[in-house]
C-alpha cells in the first residue's frame, strides 16, 4: 500500500483510516469474514442489526435472486444485545478497527435502552440507528418514513450515548431529503443510505411469492443508480457526512458514491458474492488514486462537476 496516500475520513467525530465500511446485515458479526480478509484493513465494521431481545427472524424462504440483485426478508434475526456483548464483542475488541453497532427497535424506547446498554461497554466506536428495515412488522421502516418519529428516535439515542450517531435511511419514501434534514436537526452526526428498496418476486408455476414474507428488500447492482441519486440529493441538503451504499460491487461503483459527495461507503451484497470484496475495492481505490495522482481521498469526495 502506498504510504503517502491519505484515505482517512471523519464520520461525524469517528475518524477512520479509509472510507470502506461493511454494510450491516451482510457481514455477520465480523468473525464470519476473518478467514478471508484482514479485518484490520477495513475503515470500519458495522455488525448485524441488534435488538433488545434476540429475534428469530422471518420464516423461509428468505431470499431470492432477481435481475441484477437479490430480495431478502431475513427479518432482523439477531442474537440480541446482551448475547452480542457477551459472545460477539470480545472477538471484535481484539481487532484494531472501529466497530459500529447497528441498532433497531420496535418502539422509540427500545432504541434508547439499547443505546444505553451499548454505551456502557468497551469496544464500540459509533452507533448506526436502523430506522429503515422493510422486513419487520413493528418499527423499522415505519420510523424512517416519518420525519417526526425519526427525530424522536434520534433525540432519544443522542441523549443515551456519547458515541457518534449515524442514522440509516430508507429509500422507500417520497422525498428522502425530508428525513435526512429531520435527523440532522435532531442531532445525528451522520447519515447512511440507502437501505434496501421494497420489492417482490412471484413463482408463476405455483402462483406464490418467492419469499414467505411476500415482500423483501432489494439490494445489489440493480439499485445502484437509485442509491447514487439519493446520496447526491442528500449531500446537497445536509451538512453532516453522508455514507453511501447500494449495489457497490467494485471500486468504480464506490468511487461514484465518493465523487457524488459521500464521505465513506458501505459494501453489502458484494460480500456475499466474494468475501474479499471490501479489500479488493479498497486496493482498487488506492490504485485509482495513484493513477490519477490523488494524494488525499478528499480530493475525490464531492468532486462531481455538473
Amino acid at each position: 500500500m502506498a504510504a503517502h496516500l491519505d484515505l482517512s475520513v471523519d464520520i461525524g467525530g469517528l475518524k477512520i483510516k479509509n472510507p470502506i465500511m461493511t454494510a450491516s446485515g451482510t457481514f455477520g458479526y465480523g468473525e464470519e469474514y476473518a478467514p478471508f480478509i484482514d479485518l484490520n484493513a477495513l475503515g470500519a465494521i458495522i455488525v448485524k442489526g441488534l435488538s433488545i431481545n434476540p429475534r428469530m427472524g422471518n420464516p423461509p424462504p428468505r431470499i431470492i435472486e432477481t435481475a441484477g440483485g437479490m430480495l431478502n426478508a431475513i427479518g432482523l434475526q439477531n442474537v440480541g444485545v446482551q448475547a452480542f456483548i457477551e459472545t460477539k464483542l470480545p472477538f471484535l475488541r481484539t481487532l484494531d478497527v472501529p466497530v459500529i453497532a447497528n441498532i433497531l427497535g420496535e418502539t422509540p424506547d427500545d432504541y434508547q435502552r439499547i443505546s444505553e446498554l451499548l454505551s456502557r461497554v468497551d469496544g464500540l466506536h459509533a452507533l448506526e440507528v436502523n430506522i429503515s428495515c422493510p422486513n419487520v412488522s413493528k418499527g423499522g421502516i415505519a420510523f424512517g418514513a416519518n420525519p417526526d418519529m425519526a427525530m424522536d428516535i434520534v433525540r432519544r439515542v443522542k441523549a443515551a450515548t456519547s458515541l457518534p450517531v449515524i442514522v440509516k435511511l430508507t429509500p422507500n419514501v417520497t422525498d428522502i431529503t425530508v428525513i435526512a434534514e429531520a435527523v440532522e436537526a435532531a442531532g445525528a452526526n451522520a447519515v447512511s443510505l440507502i437501505n434496501t428498496i421494497t420489492g417482490m418476486s412471484i413463482d408463476v408455476e405455483k402462483r406464490i411469492p418467492h419469499l414467505k414474507n411476500i415482500t423483501g428488500g432489494l439490494s445489489g447492482p440493480a439499485i445502484k443508480p437509485i442509491a447514487l441519486r439519493m446520496v447526491w440529493q442528500v449531500v446537497n441538503c445536509v451538512s453532516i457526512p453522508v455514507i453511501g451504499m447500494g449495489g457497490i460491487m467494485d471500486a468504480n461503483d464506490a468511487l461514484e458514491f465518493l465523487v457524488a459527495g459521500a464521505t465513506a461507503v458501505q459494501i453489502g451484497t458484494a460480500n456475499f458474492i466474494n468475501p474479499q470484496s471490501t479489500i479488493l475495492i479498497l486496493n482498487d481505490i488506492i490504485s485509482f488514486m495513484e493513477t490519477h495522482h490523488v494524494q488525499d481521498i478528499h480530493e475525490l469526495i464531492g468532486s462531481l462537476r455538473c
Binding site: 464470519e32 423461509p60 441484477g68 440483485g69 437479490m70 460480500n271 468475501p275 474479499q276
Partner: protein, 282 residues
C-alpha cells in the same frame, strides 16, 4: 479437524448432460485442496459475470487428486437461472470456487450397517459418500479399521426410472441398491420411504445408521418414519443461499432447541447435515 475455507478458481474439464436437465461437471482447481468430505458443498459461480449475481451451492459428487491437481465433481439439476448458466459452461471455462463449506455426514464407526437413502438429485452427495465408504475411509479421510465390517444398503427413489440419475455409478460401488419409483417403471412402486418402511425390521437398530438427502417432502416422511426408530438418522438439507458462510442468514430452517422450543439454524454453517430428530416441522 481444522476448518478449511478455500477461496479459489478452477477450470472446467467436463460439463456433460448425463440425463435430461442433469449435468456432471468436473473442475480442476487452481490450488491444491487437501480434503472435501461427503455432505460438504461448494459455492460455484462463473468467473467474471454479473448475471447471475450469486454463487450457487452445489454438493460434492466427487473429489480426487490427479497429476494436474485437485478435481471436484458435481452432479446437479438445472432448476433456475443459476444452474442454467452453469450448465452452459464448457471445458476450459473458469469458475470461482468457495469451499468446501458446511458440516459433512458424520460417520458412526460403531455402526457398521449403513443405510443411504436418496431422493432424485439428492443422490449426488450420497453417491460421493458411498464411494468414500466403499474405499474404506473413515470420517476424516483416513483408512478405517472397521471398513471390512461395513454393510451398505443404498435406497434410491425418483419419479420414474429415467429420473434415477447416477444409478450406474451407485451400483458400481454398492451391491445392494434398492430402487423405488413413483410410477412403478422400475423397482418398488411407491416412494423410497415406503420401501424403507417395509424393510426396516430387517436392520438391527444397534448396528445401523442412516444418511439421507432428497426433496423436503421425502425428508418429512422419513422424519415421521424414524420417530419410532432408535437408528440415528442424518439428513442433508437444502435452502437458497447467498453467501454460504453464515453471514446472510438467508438459508434458515427450523431446528429444535431444548430451552426455547425451536430456533432458526443456518443450513450453510450449522448444516447442511442435521440430525433428523432435531428438525422442527410446521
Amino acid at each position: 479437524m481444522t476448518k478449511i475455507l478455500n477461496l479459489d478458481s478452477g477450470t472446467i474439464i467436463e460439463n456433460q448432460e448425463i440425463a435430461k436437465d442433469h449435468f456432471v461437471m468436473s473442475v480442476l482447481l487452481t490450488s491444491y485442496l487437501d480434503t472435501a468430505l461427503p455432505g460438504q458443498f461448494i459455492m460455484v459461480r462463473k468467473q467474471g459475470v454479473k448475471d447471475p449475481l450469486l454463487r450457487r451451492p452445489l454438493s460434492l459428487y466427487g473429489f480426487f487428486q490427479t497429476e494436474a491437481g485437485t478435481v471436484l465433481e458435481f452432479l446437479y439439476r438445472v432448476l433456475g437461472k443459476g444452474t442454467l448458466a452453469l450448465s452452459r459452461l464448457v471445458a476450459g471455462d473458469t469458475v470461482d470456487i468457495l469451499g468446501p463449506l458446511g458440516k459433512p455426514f458424520e460417520l458412526i464407526e460403531a455402526r457398521p450397517h449403513i443405510i443411504l437413502l436418496a431422493g432424485g438429485i439428492g443422490a449426488a452427495p450420497l453417491s460421493y459418500f458411498l464411494e468414500y465408504l466403499a474405499k474404506g475411509l473413515d470420517r476424516y479421510g483416513e483408512n478405517s479399521q472397521r471398513a471390512e465390517m461395513r454393510r451398505i444398503i443404498f435406497y434410491f427413489g425418483a419419479a420414474s426410472a429415467a429420473a434415477l440419475v447416477g444409478l450406474p455409478q451407485i451400483q458400481r460401488f454398492c451391491p445392494d441398491v434398492r430402487v423405488a419409483t413413483d410410477d412403478g417403471s422400475t423397482g418398488f412402486s411407491g416412494t423410497v420411504t415406503e420401501l424403507l418402511r417395509r424393510d426396516l425390521p430387517e436392520f438391527d437398530p444397534e448396528k445401523t445408521s442412516l444418511y439421507s438427502c432428497g426433496p423436503t417432502a421425502m425428508i418429512k416422511s422419513l422424519s415421521q418414519l424414524m420417530q419410532t426408530s432408535s437408528i440415528p438418522c442424518y439428513v442433508s438439507m437444502e435452502e437458497r443461499m447467498a453467501c454460504g458462510i453464515g453471514a446472510c442468514l438467508g438459508c434458515s430452517i427450523k431446528v429444535r432447541r431444548e430451552s426455547s422450543g425451536w430456533a432458526y439454524s443456518q443450513v450453510c454453517t450449522d448444516g447442511p447435515v442435521f440430525n433428523i430428530k432435531n428438525l422442527q416441522w410446521e
